[in-house]
Symmetry: D2
Subunit: 87 residues, 4 copies
């Protein structure tokens, strides 16, 4: 992976901490809407990870692809990811 | 919370397990696109949690609201959530 | 429909105007990224329509449902819509 | 634009036709949920346009970028678009 390891790991650990918090909220029978808002916050954190990893990927692997075959492979992967994201 | 506690906790623990897996992938310097795909899978798991909690909320709290003031409060909360989701 | 007809029609006509603009951009062979940005703007306009119509629906049809059967029907419809939106 | 003009124009015209249909539904005071479903169908059509245009853009403009400066410019544009899409 080409993104900064520390940054990405930190974001992932934050998301994991949020999920632990949500598990506790579920245990404590907290209000549904409060739980949903925390779930959305954790999703936003994962989307940040996704953006960071994809950006770094494009700035290195995609940019540095040399042969036509290599470029095509990288771009096909990106198109697949983008199509899934935009669903 | 009105959704089934066991189901919701299980989904959250699965998402947490996925995040642990992604942290290990980052540590092992795995390929960016593989990491992104796992992040998207964890997001999908959290969206499942969100849908389950919101559905149960509507089938109980929203459905059972009695006074007009209570109904309005529940519906305003839902509109806010829905507006954020559809962004 | 319970949302304000004029507001909703105006938003829809704006979206239609944006699509006409995009058709012209395609005809004129404009730059892909500029086209994509206009497409995203038109999607955002449609999401605004969606939010307006759903909000008004909840504030009237859902709020005023009387019998349990009627409430359940309205809530099931909402859950289906919400599940599709959050995909 | 690098995507097939006829295909893209056809999708855009379909979306415009859907919007005309929704305007008529609003005029005829049709049921909110039916309107929302049609709005979502039009959004899906625009997302198809977006995917087509972006895919063609990547397969040509991004792939054929020659200098490092050119590659960086194309990739920065893509990152911006991808970040907006994944919001």
């Amino acid at each position: 992976m080409k993104a900064d390891k520390n940054t990405v790991s930190q974001l992932l650990k934050t998301a994991r901490g949020q999920i632990d918090g949500i598990l506790k909220m579920v245990e404590d029978d907290r209000y549904c809407i409060d739980i949903v808002q925390q779930v959305m916050a954790a999703e936003a954190m994962l989307r940040k990870v996704q953006t960071q990893v994809l950006s770094a990927h494009m700035k290195t692997c995609v940019k540095n692809a040399q042969t036509d075959a290599e470029k095509e492979e990288k771009i096909d992967e990106l198109i697949q990811i983008m199509t899934r994201i935009s669903k």
